[in-house]
């Protein structure tokens, strides 16, 4: 359990956008499962975290939601990326990658230095 990770502010939104980008329209449960799987269960999302985040993205206009039948004939709310969301994902991803590179340079373990 020690490798459990807290979801940092802002990163969850990016994970959601990424998930929807890869998998297409998906309901909240699907998004949660996908994030948990991708993180190899180091992240667990309870509803109180996930759904406000989804709502906030929807309010920003990055994703849109509609009620549909799920694969096993259950009504569920499906979220999908909007054009604005796609753009947002691209710019956020670029920023994150730059930031990660930068931080990596700082945080390289001493013993790995040449």
């Amino acid at each position: 359990m020690s490798d459990r990770v807290d979801v940092k502010q802002g990163t969850l939104a990016l994970m959601i956008l990424g998930t929807l980008d890869v998998l297409g329209p998906l309901h909240g449960y699907g998004v949660a499962r996908r994030i948990e799987e991708t993180s190899r269960n180091r992240i667990t999302l309870n509803y109180g975290t996930l759904y406000p985040a989804l709502l906030k993205l929807e309010q920003h206009g990055f994703i849109k939601a509609e009620w549909r039948q799920s694969e096993n004939n259950r009504r569920a709310k499906f979220y999908s990326l909007t054009a604005a969301g796609r753009k947002r994902l691209a710019s956020e991803a670029r920023e994150w990658n730059q930031m990660a590179e930068l931080l990596a340079a700082f945080l390289t373990p001493r013993n790995a230095a040449p």
Partner: protein
């Protein structure tokens, strides 16, 4: 961009109502999917559901979190606060009613009076750069000398010598008879120089105004209507421009309508160029240095200051006095004041309005402290509730906010009701203000006034919320554990409550003292003897000559004949005892004041030239009016043109001219440069009688010296009837009006009034002041009495145990009563003492509003203190009685 969209979505979410079902369904579907997954992996359905629930982290919390994201949470919690506050206030209807009513009265009075103060004193003048305007006032000693206007040569000197005055406007009060559809009506007008409107910085609403081309003789007469007159007489019809109207028998073109503006120094219906009065453009007026008929309003030259204008004007004036000694009697101390225009306009209203504003502020202090006290008592009672709420997780900030919301609700409701009260009050006050200020029509309950009201109520709510002692953070547990019912609250709070009651009593005493002084002023004024033997005398003014005719003397014989006919016919009416003819009517002030000289009685050096009112009377005037003859005889029917010149003087003039001798048989004459331009001649006349003094021109003015001229012997300057009847005075009015109208169909006849009514006119403004302040005073007394009674009642109920113990230890009822009375009496006493001290020093500012009573009149102070003491003690009595009825057995048991 996207942040805006977020806010929009959230606001929409807040107002969009319940989306909760949607959210719940989504969460539910999530739960089902999770359960299905667990089942698929081999769990029993019930276990699967439970596990899914645990993983969810609580559906309710999730729904709450979503709701928080969807709407505007802080707004929602305020909504909760408002609902809570409403519920709390509904649960204590008595408290709520008293507080709201008290606030409504306080806020209403303040709003109404503030709107008057703003309209009349605070708003900038509508004139362009109105603060650059100055009003010049020439005055001299003696009655009627406060403002004697300027002559044209004097104004010419100012134009040449006072460069700090960039433009000098001239205004001469006049009146005209307007004939419309055959009906005559009197128009008060101002004859003005062409530059008048430009100097004053006023614009036309429609049409145009006059300019320099309208000056002088030989131009066409034109008329500019004032806004009020245009609305009231022409219904705001814009086609009036270019129309011809007939005034004093000749046509005048209306060229425009003036914007709304205060008309100073007198209200007029229209402004015309000078040419309408041939007198105003004649040599006598234009060249006569003592022919002072013109008011002067000037605009400071760019860059010039009032100080500069003052020093330039005074040096011009000094030169004039040196060059024209005969025009400035040194004994009468001629002087000129340069007064900022706005100050001159405000002059009469300022003191009264400041007094009213102060009184309203006092009422506000009293009602605010009363509300504060009630709130403190209530909070004392609610301490337990607040402690529990705090312990259950409300932070102090949140409790504070709850109180604030509650107080805001109270204050705003009070303000709303107060504004409604103010609407009625403003109407009444506008009537009052119109007596003192030409700006009364600018009084409005507008946005600025309502902003004042709103600010007042919000400040009040803030004060109320922050003086309430809330439990300190961390003390909750202790408070709960102790379980103490500390109803009376902390010592600090008690001190505050007492201080509030003392303040109320003190402020009330000041207010009452002010009201008392005004009431005494009013009574003193009504008690002043008019000098007439009876007040049941009818009087009507019937002008048969216009000012222009008065100057030329045309129509004189015709006028005299008609006055005589009126007298004869009125005398024949049943019930009429006596009728006189003369001008002006009894108790009316005379517009004509002239210098008088006495034969063989030279003035001492430095002695002011005697001046006297010019009045006319026929032989029966004095007996009809009830003016007592002191010496000599009244006029007789033989005092006619061609016979010996005779006059009657009043006692004031007789005492002035002949302090040690009999005036009868002595000779006097009108004198002064001004006689050259006026219809009055300076022949010697023999004094045949001395009559008593009368209160001409108001109850509050000193007696004026009067010379009575025989009506038949002199040119008609004005006239009217004086009628004494022994019955049916009201029916008589109608009959008299009928006769007058038949004989003088085109004359603008005044109302037939009794002299009692004339007398009352001069008391009325003072009476209104007294009534207004007395009502505020009574209001204050009531509020203060409620305050004392409330605080004592509260103190009694807080000390029931103590009282019970005292009584069981042997204190009798009387002792307990005295204890409570002493508590109230102490507050009352301190409040009274403070109030008297403050009143003694503060009320000195009222001096100008008083008549016949000093600002620190001990009798008034004593009377109001006694009144306050009696009311206060009565207020103490109720809780004291209650205290003495405490049953020790019951209170001890319940402890």
């Amino acid at each position: 961009m996207s942040y805006l969209r977020l806010m929009r979505a959230r606001v929409a979410g807040f107002f969009g109502g319940v989306r909760t079902n949607d959210d719940r369904e989504e969460l539910e579907s999530h739960l089902e999917m999770a359960t299905a997954e667990h089942v698929r992996r081999g769990m029993l359905p019930a276990d699967a559901r439970r596990k899914a629930m645990i993983e969810s982290g609580g559906l309710a919390q999730a729904a709450e979190a979503i709701r928080g994201q969807r709407g505007l949470p802080w707004l929602e919690s305020i909504g909760v606060d408002v609902r809570y506050a409403l519920r709390a206030l509904r649960h204590s209807p008595a408290f709520t009613t008293v507080v709201v009513a008290t606030l409504a009265l306080g806020i209403g009075a303040n709003t109404a009076i503030f709107s008057v103060v703003r309209g009349v004193l605070l708003k900038p003048l509508p004139h362009r750069e109105g603060d650059r305007l100055v009003y010049l006032r020439q005055s001299m000693d003696g009655p009627g000398g406060e403002s004697i206007n300027f002559s044209v040569p004097e104004i010419e000197d100012l134009k040449k010598g006072a460069t700090a005055l960039g433009g000098i406007a001239q205004f001469s009060a006049w009146w005209l008879t307007l004939l419309s559809h055959g009906e005559p009506s009197r128009m008060e007008v101002g004859l003005v120089s062409g530059n008048y409107f430009d100097v004053l910085g006023l614009k036309a609403v429609i049409g145009r105004l006059t300019d320099a081309s309208n000056d002088g003789a030989g131009v066409a007469p034109v008329m500019v209507l004032t806004h009020d007159y245009w609305i009231s007489h022409f219904g705001g019809d814009s086609s009036v421009v270019g129309r011809q109207v007939i005034v004093d028998g000749s046509p005048v073109t209306v060229i425009g309508v003036l914007q709304e503006a205060p008309l100073f120094p007198i209200r007029v219906d229209a402004l015309l160029n000078m040419v309408i009065s041939s007198h105003h453009v004649s040599a006598t007026m234009v060249q006569g240095r003592t022919h002072r008929m013109t008011e002067v309003i000037a605009r400071l030259a760019p860059g010039a200051t009032v100080e500069q204008a003052r020093s330039e004007v005074s040096s011009v004036y000094a030169r004039e006095q040196a060059d024209y000694k005969e025009a400035y009697d040194p004994g009468s101390h001629f002087r000129v004041a340069v007064i900022p225009f706005k100050k001159a306009i405000d002059e009469k209203a300022r003191l009264t309005l400041i007094m009213l504003m102060a009184a309203a502020a006092f009422v506000m202090i009293i009602s605010a402290s009363n509300v504060l006290n009630l709130t403190l008592m209530r909070d004392g009672g609610r301490e337990q509730e607040l402690v529990v709420r705090a312990a259950l997780g409300s932070g102090v900030a949140r409790l504070r906010r709850l109180l604030l919301v509650e107080n805001l609700l109270l204050a705003l409701t009070g303000a709303a009701l107060g504004a409604i009260i103010a609407v009625g009050g403003v109407k009444l006050l506008t009537l009052l203000a119109a007596r003192y200020s030409p700006r009364a029509n600018e009084i409005r309950l507008d946005g600025a006034v309502l902003a004042f009201t709103l600010t007042l109520s919000i400040v009040l709510a803030l004060v109320l919320s922050f003086v309430a002692a809330l439990p300190r953070e961390g003390s909750f547990a202790a408070a709960i554990v102790s379980g103490a019912r500390r109803m009376s609250g902390s010592a600090g709070r008690q001190r505050l409550q007492r201080a509030l009651v003392i303040t109320q009593v003190g402020v009330t005493v000041v207010l009452l003292a002010a009201a008392g002084l005004l009431t005494r002023t009013m009574i003193r004024l009504s008690d002043v003897r008019t000098g007439l033997e009876s007040e049941e005398v009818l009087s009507v003014n019937v002008p048969l000559v216009t000012p222009a005719q008065m100057v030329t003397g045309s129509g004189d014989a015709d006028a005299k004949e008609r006055y005589e006919r009126m007298e004869r016919e009125v005398r024949a009416l049943p019930g009429v005892v006596d009728v006189g003819v003369g001008s002006p009517g009894p108790l009316r002030g005379s517009d004509i004041v002239l210098e008088v000289k006495a034969l063989e009685r030279p003035l001492a050096t430095g002695e002011a030239m005697p001046r006297a009112d010019y009045r006319t009377a026929n032989p029966s005037y004095f007996s009809a009016a009830g003016i007592p003859l002191i010496a000599g005889r009244e006029f007789s029917t033989t005092d006619l043109p061609g016979s010996a010149n005779v006059v009657i003087i009043n006692k004031t003039l007789a005492d002035r001219l002949y302090p040690h001798a009999d005036a009868i048989g002595k000779q006097i004459a009108w004198t002064g440069d001004v006689l050259r331009f006026t219809p009055f001649h300076g022949d010697w006349r023999t004094i045949v009688g001395v009559v008593g003094n009368t209160q001409d021109g108001g109850q509050d003015v000193p007696f004026r010296a009067v010379v009575w001229m025989p009506f038949a012997q002199e040119r008609v300057t004005g006239g009217g009837l004086v009628i004494r009847a022994d019955r049916n005075v009201d029916q008589m009015k109608l009959a008299v009006e009928k006769i007058v109208h038949a004989i003088a169909p085109t004359a603008v006849v005044g109302k037939v009034v009794t002299v009692a009514q004339i007398k009352d006119e001069s008391v009325a403004p003072r009476r209104l002041n007294a009534v207004l302040l007395s009502s505020l005073g009574i209001l204050a007394v009531l509020i203060a009495a409620v305050g004392i009674a409330g605080i004592l009642a509260f103190s009694v109920s807080a000390r029931v145990n103590e009282i019970g113990i005292r009584m069981s230890l042997g204190a009798d009822r009387g002792r307990v009563q005295r204890m409570i009375l002493r508590e109230g009496g102490t507050m009352l006493g301190i409040g009274l003492a403070l109030g008297i001290v403050v009143a003694y020093f503060l009320l000195d500012v009222m001096r100008g509003l008083l008549f016949g009573v000093m600002p620190h009149d001990p009798l008034t102070l004593l009377a109001v203190s006694a009144f306050m003491a009696v009311v206060g003690l009565l207020a103490c009595w109720i809780p004291a009685l209650r205290a003495s009825r405490v049953d020790p057995a019951i209170t001890m048991r319940s402890t």
